[in-house]
Symmetry: C2
Subunit: 302 residues, 2 copies
Amino acid sequence: MAERMRLGFVGLGNLGAPIAENLLQSGHELYVYNRTPSKSIPLKEKGAIVCDGVASLARQVDLVFTMVSDDAALKNIVQGKDGLLENGRPGQIHVSMSTILPVTAEAMESLYTAQNKKFLAAPVFGRPEAARARKLNFVLSGDEITRKAVEPLLKDAGAAGIFDFGNRITAANTVKLCGNFLIAAALEAMGECLALGKESGVDVQQMWSMLTQTLFTSPVYVNYGNIVLQQKFEPAAFTAKLGLKDMNLVLSQAASVNQPMPLANLLKNNLQELVESGRENIDWSAMSIVSQKNKPETVVHG
Amino acid sequence: MAERMRLGFVGLGNLGAPIAENLLQSGHELYVYNRTPSKSIPLKEKGAIVCDGVASLARQVDLVFTMVSDDAALKNIVQGKDGLLENGRPGQIHVSMSTILPVTAEAMESLYTAQNKKFLAAPVFGRPEAARARKLNFVLSGDEITRKAVEPLLKDAGAAGIFDFGNRITAANTVKLCGNFLIAAALEAMGECLALGKESGVDVQQMWSMLTQTLFTSPVYVNYGNIVLQQKFEPAAFTAKLGLKDMNLVLSQAASVNQPMPLANLLKNNLQELVESGRENIDWSAMSIVSQKNKPETVVHG
């Protein structure tokens, strides 16, 4: 456990809230801010100090964690005269846990460096239940001294694993996008696989048990497989809306390096269909049934 | 180990040969046949009896295993006056390990039942090295008494796992197609993921190590990931040509139950591109680099 510190936490969503709570439980003094104030209440009851804006939060603490929904939200809380950067203490460290474009992380690092402050990229793999169980996996990149200083705090935040990708600030968010793409691809594959088995009259529960005992023993297949089998997409741990945002980031990054990703395109289209049909707040794993739902109405068994 | 039996084995390809060798090593008397005679030589040297056709093989044995390349090849060795069925002893059992359409397995079962003989579907998951290490996973369906009788022989053939899907003859081949689809989907996902990471300047070896330690711990991601990272697609353990055949079977089965599978379509197209460009005999995991190879010639980093 790290030495007791005065920490800030901005963004108390599905994943931000349990991470902030871990920091509190690890003994740190915690200043929190969330755009929707009601989300701060449970943390206030556990001892967090609720701030009325990011400027007042930035003035109180030595290090700020942020976990916000997208690149625009991050720029919004950092920049401007009421932003984290302008109001931060000298030498303040900003640890960004959000899934954002590598190029956004790079822009943030430049802004912070110009003010002799530090920006670190620390996106995270894990759903809210993993945060509560302290089984998160953080991917880390940026300035070396800052990385070493922050590692013990990530353990306090609920890290089971911390994967250090070195000095290049863009690395961690690239890895995060690659990982989220891989998860989304597995979801679509599971959906099509289970639909084919079911429609062909196989006991898909048994089939899934076999596949996850042999070739597909990973947590992604075991955990999401159960969700897809039961089609239990609510409550969402990670919404279709956020999934679509991430697939757009993947495609944007791919375009910036001129890399064709036909599977990422397919995943984006399925997530978009979920969102456009008004299901943006169900779990993104529902992407797995989009193809199935697109069956022609008249079913002719051949 | 099962009681010593007189067994037949037809189809001594990449996977058939080591399975046949396992049966020999388990102490059975083994009669073998392969269309290309030279492939029988290594087994002959280990004690197998080489037959000059499936008819003479069928007359010698109580049970025949087959591992042939496709539905047509299976029909070809079974049917006609020189086929396995016509020449088989009374009550002979045919255990089909090939990856074929469920409907083909159903047609075979009907033919065998009409002659009071038995046909069992026992497709197998595992590459040649898994066969040699006796770590294969068999999926089994068909007549119950026959299934129970065959299980010990599958252990002798190299099974680490035998998954019994019951009486319906179509079940095992459906599960096999679902599983192969899931592997192919993972290959394409790995290919796009690693290409994105590499083009974005990340240490992809480290990224893959991280992903396979956390979310993607499965054998499929660990083993194929190394092949894709090193782009070591020769010698092939399972060729692009056979992969394409399997994706066509998946799509054919999907069409027969009216199930859209957009990801399976994408995989089929990539495999087809490999085959049409003359790379049909390299490993099917090379599918993972088709999208990457399709990059426009002029690369503009954005």
